[in-house]
């Protein structure tokens, strides 16, 4: 035992190798390996007559993805939803996270953290189906709005072309509400973590130099929350881009990227197109992060 300890103490590289190789192998094979396998699949194509995968490098599948209007519609629809959900989550999360991180203490703080995480402990499917009931034409939300005499407002909202529908549960508005509900904790937690790290003396210094609370918020709190917002938005954005259950249970007809991946690799048996669709979110997130970095979102890290 002692001899072995001395051996590794004298040869730190062996020590690191012993510690790092197993997890790196796991990470390399399972995470990166499967990602590259997916990437490789997207460069194959399917033979239209035999429905067999042709294992030759080709851009035909990508061509199909970007030239067929139906496919482009799916990407645009999904990305629009993801952007809307991300912005809504950020706007709702900011005051909550600010309160949790900067003002709440002790029990109140614990209550908020548990409250934010509690919904994540229950089944995702249960929550989606529950929301379908809540949003249904005869559901509790429509009923409550009726009691408040706001049925007209709801009808007007549902009559909006593009995002409306016969009821909340079969409209993009309803789908948007469910997405925001589902991913909100993923925005609040990183944002609160970023705000927790801001030293209180920075806020005092800002006030000391003559900044009113609103100016302190804009000039100090918000810029320092940006890395948290960026991290949270990657979650909300990518989760929305990849989800296929919410769009298939709630909302208007029309495929989303996740549903398309599901359909193409399942019933249609078109693995290359499914792979090409799933590369889209990867590229979009990469582009998003590059832009965020260009604008200095991570400078305060």
């Amino acid at each position: 035992m002692r001899a072995a300890s001395t051996f590794f103490w004298r040869r730190p590289y062996w020590y690191f190798a012993l510690l790092l190789v197993p997890p790196l192998l796991w990470f390399g094979t399972v995470y990166l390996g499967s990602l590259f396998a997916l990437l490789a699949q997207s460069f194959y194509r399917i033979d239209d007559f035999t429905a067999q995968i042709v294992r030759e490098p080709t851009l035909a599948t990508y061509k199909q993805l970007v030239t067929q209007p139906a496919n482009v519609d799916i990407v645009v629809r999904t990305v629009t939803m993801a952007i809307a959900v991300t912005i809504a989550c950020a706007m709702i999360a900011l005051p909550i996270a600010t309160y949790m991180a900067r003002y709440a203490t002790g029990r109140v703080k614990a209550f908020f953290y548990v409250g934010v995480m509690l919904p994540m402990w229950t089944s995702y499917l249960v929550k989606v189906y529950a929301w379908r009931q809540l949003l249904a034409k005869e559901g509790i939300i429509a009923w409550f709005l009726g009691k408040l005499g706001l049925t007209g407002v709801l009808d007007a909202l549902l009559a909006t072309p593009g995002i409306g529908g016969p009821s909340l549960s079969s409209s993009f508005i309803g789908m948007f509400l469910v997405f925001v509900y589902m991913w909100l904790p993923f925005m609040i937690l990183p944002m609160a973590a970023a705000l927790e790290r801001v030293p209180g003396s920075l806020l005092q210094a800002s006030a000391d130099l003559g900044a009113r609370p609103s100016q302190t918020f804009r000039n100090v709190v918000l810029p320092l929350a940006v890395p948290g917002i960026a991290a949270g938005s990657v979650f909300t954005f990518s989760l929305t881009l990849g989800d296929y259950i919410i769009p298939s249970v709630v909302g208007a007809p029309g495929y989303f990227i996740g549903m398309m991946v599901y359909v193409q690799q399942g019933t249609a048996g078109n693995i290359p197109l499914a792979a090409a669709f799933s590369v889209v979110p990867v590229i979009l997130i990469f582009v998003y992060l590059s832009i965020a970095k260009r604008f200095g979102a991570f400078d305060a890290l």
Partner: protein, 339 residues
Amino acid sequence: MTAAIEFRGVSRIYGEVRAVDDVSFSVEPGEFFAMLGPSGSGKTTCLRLVAGFDTPDRGQILLEGEDVSSTPPYDRNVNTVFQDYALFPHMTVLQNVAYGPRVRGVAVAEREQRAREMLDLVQLGAQGERRPAQLSGGQRQRVALARALINHPKVLLLDEPLGALDLKLREEMQIELKSLQKKLGITFVYVTHDQGEALSMADRVAVFNKGKIEQLAAPRELYQGPATSFVARFVGSANVADAALAQKLGVGAPFAIRAENIDVHAEAQSTPADHMAAPGAVLAVQFHGAASRWQIQLDAGGIWSALVPEEETRRLNGLAAGARVRISWPRDAAVTLRG
């Protein structure tokens, strides 16, 4: 003349703790005023009360004769240099310094001009485009100073500003701060737990203990005539004879005697008539260069220390830990304490 700062019976109570307990004092315009005390003595709370980060539970705080007890920090004409500097990490040095004018609506060109002047004042003119994280501790300190001075405050509050710096830099900054204060003529309120810092820089020092001011006096007066045993110990590292010990030594009231006023002799040696003497045993002798510090256990109780010049220590050659000695001190060097 109206006082720059005046505390009238100010108390700040956190739950059971009286952080500041019925404190009254005033600071003259242009004065370098130090608040000295151990941690938890209330000095930092007093500073926060002046800055407006905290409000008093009782009493009034006046800035230039105006009651600001419930004025928010952004409406007070005082600025603070924070212990951790509190520089904004997402802004450049220049943007940090220009922040005060910026939030007060000064145009970009003018505020950057003023910020450059302030950076020149603290000899950081070339560092404007860097981030605080790229600066050394001493440079950050100067940026914090420049940022706090740009609004031309009537009073500058400094919360242990040199605490994070190493000794050499700290001594340089002490001299620089003092000359800056003279040059600008601003009232400085300087919080520190380092009595050397307070004595060397301040015009007057308020010694805090348990939420109250034990003594408020000029540094010399504080050092030579401590009013209480706390001040004697904390400021002068003096030997204190409490009421019981004083009685055993044949003196009516508690008194303090500084280590450099104590002579150490062989036990048998007699003492001059104008001296007081006490027998004891040597606990330890610590070498400090020009002098040695002797720790002596008095037979009457209490451990005192004597600062003995090097040649004297050599003359006492042979006396080491455990040896019996007799210490003496001039009667007129003893300072009578009130508690």
